[in-house]
C-alpha cells in the first residue's frame, strides 16, 4: 500500500506592515479605518501576501475566505502569522489551524475551560516554574485544533484531546467528529505557536470502480439534466434530437458534455464523442462509458 504523502505546512510571521505598493487596491480598500485594527489588518495581509507568494498561489488576499482548507491566520498585539499547506490538497485534508500567543502569565483557574480532566492532571504535575508556559502552550494547541476543525460550531476546546499533553507534536482527536488531528507546537521570538491539521477518517464517497455495476440510467434522467443545463423543456428532447441542434455555442456543448459525465460518472473519449449525433446515442454512450 503506498505510503501517504507527508503534508508540509509553512508559517509566515511578521510584526511589520506592508511596504507601500505591496497590497493591491482591492485589499487597501477592504482595510478597516485607522488605528490599531487597521495596522493589525494590514500586517496580516502582508503575512498572507508573503506566504501566498511562497506557495505559488494568487497574491490577492481578498480571494481567500476563512475558514480555509489550506490557510489559517492568527494575531497578537504585535504580530500576525499565517500558515499554509504546501502543494496539492489531498482529499482527506479537512483543515489547518494556527495559533500564536505572546509570553504571558497564565491563570491556572482557566485550565478547566480548555483542558479535559486528564490534561489538567498532567498540567498540575508540571513543575511550577514551567507551568505557566505549558499552560499557554496547551492553550495555543487547543486553539489550533479548534481552528483546524471545519465542524467546530458545536465544539468547545475541551472536546479536543491530545494523546500526550507533554509531546511537542503528535495526534489528537475529537470524538464523533470523523476527524483525526495532528499537531506541532513550538516557540518563536513572538511567543508560543501551534499548528494543527485535521484529516477526514470517513472515506469520501468513492467513484465507482470498474468492477462495480453502474446504476441503471434511463433517457428521462439524462434529458432532465440537459433541460437544467440548457434551459430547454425536457418534453422537447427525444432520442432523435440532433446534439448539434441543442446549441450553436461550442462552449455550451462542452459544458453539457462534461457535466453529463461528471453527473453520471462516465468518461468519454474524443473518438466515442465524434460518433454521437443524437441524444439517444449520447445516452447510450453514457450507459456504456460508466
Amino acid at each position: 500500500m503506498p505510503r501517504p504523502r507527508a503534508l508540509r505546512v509553512l508559517v509566515v510571521c511578521t510584526d511589520r506592515e506592508p511596504p507601500p505598493g505591496r497590497l493591491g487596491e482591492r485589499e487597501r480598500a477592504a482595510a478597516p479605518p485607522g488605528g490599531e485594527r487597521r495596522r493589525r489588518w494590514l500586517r496580516s495581509r502582508h503575512a498572507q501576501r508573503t506566504l501566498l507568494g511562497v506557495l505559488g498561489l494568487p497574491g490577492g488576499t481578498t480571494a481567500h475566505r476563512y475558514p480555509n482548507r489550506r490557510l489559517s491566520l492568527t494575531h497578537t498585539d504585535r504580530c500576525s502569522a499565517v500558515a499554509g499547506v504546501v502543494g496539492p490538497l489531498p482529499p482527506p485534508l479537512a483543515g489547518v489551524g494556527l495559533d500564536l500567543e505572546p509570553p504571558r502569565p497564565a491563570d491556572p483557574r482557566t485550565a478547566r475551560f480548555f483542558l479535559d480532566d486528564r490534561e489538567q492532571g498532567w498540567l498540575a504535575d508540571v513543575p511550577e516554574r514551567r507551568r505557566a508556559e505549558e499552560h499557554v502552550r496547551l492553550w495555543t494547541l487547543k486553539e489550533a485544533l479548534f481552528k483546524a476543525d471545519p465542524g467546530n460550531a458545536a465544539a468547545t476546546l475541551r472536546d479536543y484531546a491530545v494523546h500526550d499533553p507533554a509531546a511537542p507534536h503528535g495526534p489528537a482527536r475529537r470524538d464523533r467528529s470523523g476527524l483525526a488531528f495532528g499537531y506541532v507546537t513550538g516557540r518563536i521570538p513572538a511567543g508560543r505557536l501551534s499548528v494543527a491539521l485535521s484529516l477526514n477518517t470517513r472515506p469520501a464517497p468513492a467513484r465507482r470502480t470498474p468492477d462495480m455495476p453502474a446504476p441503471a440510467l434511463d433517457f428521462a434522467q439524462v434529458t432532465e439534466r440537459i433541460s437544467g443545463v440548457l434551459s430547454i423543456p425536457a418534453a422537447d428532447l427525444t432520442p432523435q434530437t440532433p446534439l448539434r441542434s441543442l446549441t450553436m455555442d461550442s462552449f455550451v456543448l462542452v459544458e453539457l458534455i462534461v457535466d453529463l459525465q461528471e453527473e453520471f460518472d462516465a468518461v468519454f473519449s474524443q473518438a466515442e464523442l465524434k460518433e454521437v449525433e443524437t441524444l439517444g446515442e449520447l445516452v447510450d454512450l453514457l450507459r456504456t462509458a460508466r
Binding site: 497574491g59 459525465q261 468518461v267
Partner: protein
C-alpha cells in the same frame, strides 16, 4: 504628445486581441466553474474571475492609452476547438487549458521583452502574469490528481496532442496576422516551460 499618439493601429489590434482572449477565457471558465465538482471548484472559479479581471485590465489599459478596443475577427480559443475538436471530458478541458495558459505566458513574456513596449502595457502584462503562473500550476496539479481516473498515459498523450496543435495554431496566427505582431517576432523567446513549483 497625447497618450493616443503612443498607440499604433497594430498596438491597438494586439491589445484588443489580448482583451478578447481574456473575455473568451472568462466565458469558457464560467462554464467550467459550473460543472466541476469537489475541491477543484474553488480554483476554477478563481480562474474564471481572474480571466474576467484580466479583460478589465486590458480594457482600462487601452482606455488609458486613449483608444477603444476593437473586436478581432476570431478569438485564439476558437482556433483550438477547430483544430482539436471539442474537449471530450474534464481532463481534456484541463489539458487544453494547460497548453493555452502556457502559450499565454509565452506570448506575454515575448511582449515584455520587446524594448518598445509602452510602460502602461508592461504594467498590465506584469499584473496579469502573476495570475497566469498560478493558473499553469493549479491546472498541472489538477491533471496529476486526475491520473487515477483517466490514466497518466492518456493525460500525457492528450497534452502532447494539444501542444502540437497549439504550435500549429500559433504559427497560423502569426501567418495570418503577421504584420500586426511583426515587432514581437524580433524578440524571440524559448517555447513555454512550466515554472517549477
Amino acid at each position: 504628445m497625447t497618450l493616443s499618439d503612443t498607440l499604433s493601429d497594430n498596438d491597438r489590434w494586439l491589445l484588443s486581441f489580448y482583451r478578447s482572449s481574456e473575455i473568451n477565457g472568462a466565458l469558457f471558465f464560467g462554464r467550467v466553474a459550473r460543472i466541476v465538482r469537489g475541491p477543484l471548484q474553488v480554483d476554477v472559479t478563481h480562474h474564471f474571475s481572474d480571466e474576467a479581471a484580466h479583460a478589465s485590465y486590458w480594457t482600462h489599459c487601452i482606455d488609458d492609452l486613449g483608444a477603444t478596443p476593437i473586436r478581432p475577427p476570431r478569438a485564439y480559443q476558437d482556433r483550438y476547438l477547430d483544430a482539436v475538436g471539442l474537449p471530450a471530458n474534464l481532463m481534456e478541458v484541463m489539458a487544453i487549458t494547460q497548453v493555452f495558459e502556457k502559450r499565454v505566458i509565452s506570448q506575454y513574456r515575448r511582449h515584455l521583452r520587446h524594448p518598445g513596449t509602452h510602460p502602461r502595457v508592461r504594467q498590465t502584462i506584469e499584473r496579469i502574469m502573476r495570475d497566469e503562473r498560478w493558473h499553469v500550476q493549479y491546472v498541472r496539479q489538477a491533471l496529476e490528481e486526475m491520473s487515477g481516473r483517466y490514466g497518466e498515459e492518456r493525460i500525457a498523450e492528450t497534452l502532447a496532442r494539444y501542444t502540437a496543435a497549439d504550435q500549429e495554431i500559433y504559427a497560423d496566427t502569426l501567418r495570418e496576422y503577421g504584420e500586426r505582431m511583426d515587432f514581437l517576432a524580433e524578440t524571440p523567446v524559448p517555447e513555454p516551460r512550466e515554472r517549477s513549483a
